[in-house]
């Protein structure tokens, strides 16, 4: 089992403190939901964990060694990143886009090996995009595009996947499909950290939730513990309806606590 550990991480943009002494660790084999209101620092935390964010204080370790001391390609083989928004600047074919996931495994002039081709085919089968292989990315729907980008991340065969709002632009069907896929990856031993805004998806699918609010971790544990009435009020400033269906929880944001709550807090 491998672990990605964040020690006392503080990140500031100008005067604004985005992350404030964050301590959290993620292990392979579990699906962790990273939740919190807009601007809580979720994306900044993910970007720090792939070395894309410089930070003033703190340390990030992969299996005990400092991430910044490790060879970049080695890190790239262990940790895959799926950014928000699904950027693709040129109209590549789906197959070529997915094959980019193999770059950390290839030396500069090396051609695709049989292993590369197998992993790419598996990733495309798993995300159900085999039929799209020769399409250009620009002709795809939002759901198809997200699955293609996810397949790219799978093709890296990472031990850890950091996915930033992968279901944000998807319809309910594709949201469930992507969450099921992430869950099955975790069951196979991959560590998955996923940023979510949908609390039901977070409660139902994740093994553990980390709740960020104003740059601090204010909840870390089972979905039941983290999604407490107090935590939701303190971070999102909402109340929620709760229930369960066949033993699986759902949680629906119901009322904003708005200004009354702010006043009471003072």
């Amino acid at each position: 089992m491998s672990t990605l550990t964040v020690h006392d991480l503080s990140v500031g943009f100008g005067n604004r403190q985005v992350l404030d002494k964050v301590n959290v660790s993620f292990s392979t084999g579990s699906l962790v939901g990273l939740i919190g209101p807009n601007g809580a620092g979720k994306t900044t935390l993910l970007r720090s964990m792939i070395g894309a964010q410089s930070f003033a204080k703190g340390q990030i370790q992969w299996d005990g060694s400092d991430l910044h001391q490790l060879d970049r390609r080695t890190v790239a083989r262990h940790i895959a990143y799926l950014p928000q928004g699904g950027v693709c600047h040129w109209p590549l074919t789906v197959e070529h886009l997915v094959s980019l996931g193999r770059l950390p495994h290839q030396s500069p002039w090396q051609k695709q090996s049989a292993e590369d081709r197998r992993v790419i085919a598996d990733a495309m089968a798993e995300t159900d995009i085999g039929a799209l292989a020769q399409r250009t990315v620009t002709t795809l729907s939002g759901g198809e595009r997200m699955r293609v980008l996810l397949a790219r991340a799978l093709a890296t065969s990472p031990e850890m996947l950091l996915a930033d709002e992968p279901v944000a632009s998807l319809d309910p069907y594709h949201q469930l499909q992507v969450m099921t896929l992430l869950q099955s990856m975790a069951r196979r031993g991959v560590g998955v950290v996923v940023v979510l805004h949908d609390l039901t998806l977070a409660a139902r699918f994740c093994d553990r939730l980390v709740l960020l609010s104003e740059g601090r971790v204010i909840g870390d544990g089972t979905p039941d513990d983290v999604l407490s009435v107090e935590n939701l009020a303190a971070s999102y400033r909402v109340t929620a309806l709760r229930g369960s269906e066949n033993g699986e929880p759902f949680i629906v944001p119901w009322k904003d606590l708005g200004n009354d709550f702010e006043r009471e807090k003072r």
Binding site: A52, A80, H89, L92, T93, E95, A131, A133, T136
Partner: protein
Amino acid sequence: MSTVAATVDNSRASPLIGFVTLVVILSIMIVVLFVVSIGAGRVAISFQQIFSSLRAHDPSLMSIIIEQIRLPRAILAVTVGATLGLAGAALQGLLRNPLAEPGLIGVSGCAALGAVIMFYTGISATFALALPLGGVAGALIAVAAIYALAGRESSILTLVLAGVAVNAFAGALTTLALSLSPNPYAAFEIFFWLLGSLADRSLEHVYLSLPLMALGWVLLLTMGRALDALTLGEDTARSLGFRLGRVQAQVVIGTALAVGAAVAVSGVIGFVGLVVPHLLRPLVRYQPGRLLLVSALGGAVLTLAADIAVRSIMGGPELKLGVLTALIGAPFFLYLVIQTRKAMR
């Protein structure tokens, strides 16, 4: 699965031509046009004469024309053209912007300014390499400025505006140098040189520029995978194991070396770096990495062809090569802008 994909695929048809085939075709075109280029001009030279004179080194008039006038011109058409095509493709890959072109964003203009300063101050008279080095220094400043002004996730608009600014500044300083020139004949010389031409160059020009250009080519041609990764944005490229700072530096320095040296011997030949990558991109299925080599070859083809054309189409004084590429390239640029506007809607 690929067989399933082939039958289900309903997007636009995939290109019928493979990467290797494309490289071979472009290479053959270069060889053919190279020979035609040596043969074309006021004095028509047959293929037999070209080959026999190159082999025998006899001191006839014919072989003097070939070795001292036609051969350097054809070689420079290949090297300068390849440089412009390659630099265009590399800059477009780095900035993820199809309108990035050495001439358009002011790199060629600044390279010209660097060379003009060397010329004007007389440094180029003291040692020959000063001219291409001046070009490289000018180009380096321009690429760095463009990257600072419009790098990262820049929009097409910011890039073009930054290019306009850099171009205007380089143009103003070049004009200043021209107007302060004590010798009107020298100013006239510089003015014509700025228009971009490969006429009346010697093998000396080839020796001066080729090493710097070749170094630039190596730096740019090895960037393929990084540029492929950048398609998915800077963060993803980083997460795929690329050092962004190094990638940026390598493209900037490679472009400056190649374009700076090219402009120093040929003047400003615009739009090759815009037209060539745009035409070839669909043939490599939009892969920025593969576009590098084919754009280099395509740039050589276009420049050779254009340089043959300027010698063939007019009876009077020879049309400047840079003028011809601008005449073809500017409407093409306009067309690209209209296309981009349509795509944005």
